[in-house]
């Protein structure tokens, strides 16, 4: 698993590697100034913070990768544990979180006001491996667990290929940084031009086609998002995605049903799938991608303790495939975990440091 999921290797011009592990960081808990903390849907809040000059905050967040998260430290010390929240958007100027009020901690967070400070960590975890995405699309070969160093961004082999961002509920916010990053890496800028020719020229009720083919290197981004009843962040996703598909459980907007049902019904297809959302959705998507033999990366979630890899609270089950293992035969038997069919060893990995993003086909969903 070493180096297979993006920890900054694919970012050109990045000053040093992102995430943890790059040396002693004495300012690991930073204070940011809140510039906004408002509801954008029922129980859903968007919190925007200004990066301060102290503590290396600008550097930390300019090097953040989509799929990473931060720890939020609450003021009320009776609530001991940090709250891990996915990064929705981040750069050296500001950080955006979108969270749902589900318990005491998030309830307190929702009461913090503009101008107040918030204690947060640097970006944590390993995000989506966009290098793997680009390489797979260029070569037409699924990377699986091969070790990846850098994407060759000059390859035009991925032209016309499609990437689907499949998200459910609070899995939608990290898709924003993901979509923005994919777009900016290809140097095409953010906003697709409107008014160009489309394949069939029509706008469906749900899937709005915004643009089709604004340049030879362009990857098509499809967003497929599911919500309980009220969609959010759709306008923001439209800035980076070519197609937007919305599903709601309640039927109040878009497709009535869940994301997988929508993808089936509307024939949404892609060459690569990137996903974040509830476990049942990720599991169903992994099964779907397994059947159609398309690559997938998923962002997992578990109750965390420390969020940085010390307490081993957030374990998940990851399959190490036989052909990718470099360890010797003796070590294999001592490596721990069960064998599944004699071919793969299942290891307990940490969602906070080995993940949260893993390849869909290496996750063992049954626990």
């Amino acid at each position: 698993m070493q180096g297979t999921i993006g920890s900054g290797a694919y970012k050109t011009g990045a000053a040093g590697s992102a995430g943890t592990g790059s040396g002693i960081n004495k300012s690991c808990i930073m204070e940011a100034e809140i510039t906004g903390n408002r509801p954008i849907a029922r129980d859903i809040y968007r919190l925007v913070m200004q990066c301060g000059d102290a503590g290396g905050m600008r550097t930390a967040f300019s090097a953040s990768n989509p799929g990473q998260f931060i720890n939020v430290y609450l003021r009320d010390k009776s609530m001991l544990l940090p709250r891990p929240v996915s990064i929705c958007l981040a750069d050296e100027e500001r950080v955006t979180l979108v969270y749902r009020v589900v318990g005491k901690g998030t309830k307190e967070l929702s009461a913090y006001k503009e101008g107040e400070s918030l204690k947060i960590s640097a970006p944590l975890g390993k995000g989506y491996d966009i290098g793997a995405v680009l390489r797979t699309l260029s070569d037409g070969v699924s990377d699986g667990l091969q070790s990846i160093e850098r994407a060759d961004l000059n390859t035009a082999g991925h032209a016309g290929k499609t990437v689907a961002l499949v998200a459910g509920g609070l899995g939608v916010p990290p898709m924003l940084l993901l979509a923005k990053t994919i777009r900016s890496l290809l140097g095409n800028g953010a906003r697709p031009r409107s008014g160009s020719r489309t394949d069939n020229g029509s706008r469906t009720d749900n899937g709005s086609r915004l643009n089709d083919g604004a340049g030879p290197e362009r990857i098509r981004l499809i967003s497929a998002s599911g919500f309980q009843e009220e969609p959010f962040l759709i306008e923001e996703l439209k800035e980076f995605c070519d197609e937007i598909h919305i599903a709601t459980d309640s039927g109040t907007a878009g497709f009535h049903g869940n994301v997988l049902e929508m993808m089936e019904t509307e024939g949404i297809k892609a060459d690569y799938y990137l996903s974040c959302g509830p476990k049942p959705m990720l599991k169903a998507l992994a099964e779907h991608c397994g059947r159609i033999k398309k690559p997938l990366q998923v962002s997992l979630e578990e109750r965390m303790g420390c969020g940085y890899g010390a307490c081993v609270g957030c374990a998940c089950r990851i399959r190490e495939k036989a052909e990718s293992r470099e360890i010797s035969e003796e070590k294999k038997s001592a490596a721990g975990g069960e064998t599944a069919g004699g071919e793969a060893i299942i290891r307990r990995k940490k969602v906070c440091t080995d993940g949260p993003v893993f390849f869909g086909d290496e996750v063992d969903w049954d626990d």
Partner: protein
């Protein structure tokens, strides 16, 4: 000039601050502070064979504390010796390996293997359930605690510190029992057995139903037990349980501890062990304590 040194079972620590087992991972924690600043690191529990740990959820938050039912996931003693120990040895700090097991035989096997390495000390976690006795923990009963101490002492070439469970009626009795069989020190407390129920989902939050409570919520119990054990035995005492600040560390020293371990605090603030050491030094300067013994003697 403040002297923070303390000698436990013949091993001299540069300062009394150590990391509690299960809350420290050399590569991950070392990103936030210089491991050389610690008196000692106490490793994650090492078992004879790799242990997978419990299914999730393994963590639950409680008022002023947390429950964990991690289940002692670790890669086993062989992997520890091969992968973890060489990295720990690149630091000057003393290394205490925590040992876990399901049977006395397993504990002894680990103690024997680790005795052939250059670690400084062993901390024996006797909160583990004794499968042979139906799951009651090794440390729950003075007879069993004495027996396991005696057997490990035979196989161990290193000093052994017995980590006591607080889930007992009389912790002083347990401490006396392990002292009588040759324990070189005791550490306490391990976690208190606790539980959290989600009343909306109508089920326990942890997969294991019950888990270990740690953090500020347990500190009064831990301080009381260190106080009682200090007055029951002569061997060194490592105190832990909810230490969040230098003043908390001083409290344990004043109750009679020789050294302290920092656990849950580090989960909440990754720099906690080193910060607490600095705060303790500041406390000592404020009151004119020149060495740790003076704090231990200070209780009126």
């Amino acid at each position: 000039m403040i002297d923070l040194r303390v000698t436990i079972a013949g091993v001299t620590l540069e300062n009394p601050v150590t990391t509690a087992s299960g809350t420290f991972s050399a590569r991950e924690s070392g990103v936030f502070y210089d491991i050389n600043e610690l008196g000692a690191v106490i490793t994650k529990g090492v078992s004879a064979e790799p242990w997978e740990g419990n299914p999730t959820p393994r963590i639950a938050e409680t008022y002023g504390g947390m429950l964990n039912a991690v289940g002692l996931q670790n890669p086993g003693v062989d992997a520890f010796i091969e992968d973890e120990l060489p990295y720990l040895r690149t630091f000057r700090t003393k290394i205490v390996a925590n040992v876990v097991g399901k049977s006395i035989g397993e504990y002894c096997a680990v103690a024997e293997k680790l005795s052939e390495t250059d670690i400084d000390m062993l901390e024996i976690n006797i909160s583990c359930p004794n499968i042979k006795e139906g799951g009651i923990s090794f440390g729950a009963d003075p007879g069993m605690a004495a027996e396991i101490t005696r057997e490990i002492k035979k196989k161990s070439g290193k000093p052994i510190v017995m980590k006591l469970t607080p889930n007992v009626t009389d912790i002083a009795e347990i401490a006396r029992a392990v002292e009588s069989e040759g324990a070189d020190g005791v550490s306490l407390i391990n976690t208190l057995l606790g539980m959290k129920i989600d009343v909306h989902k109508r089920r326990p939050v942890l997969w294991n139903r019950m888990g270990g409570l740690s953090g500020p919520a347990v500190k009064p119990v831990a301080v009381r037990m260190v106080y009682q054990v200090r007055r029951a035995v002569k061997i060194p005492v490592i105190g832990l349980g909810g230490i969040m600040t230098g003043e908390d560390a001083a409290e344990f020293l004043m109750a009679g501890a020789d050294a302290v371990s920092i656990g849950t605090a580090a989960l909440v603030d990754p720099t906690a062990p080193v910060r607490i050491k600095k705060e303790l030094a500041g406390f000592m300067e404020q009151y004119g304590y020149q060495n740790l013994q003076q704090i231990r003697d200070a209780l009126l």
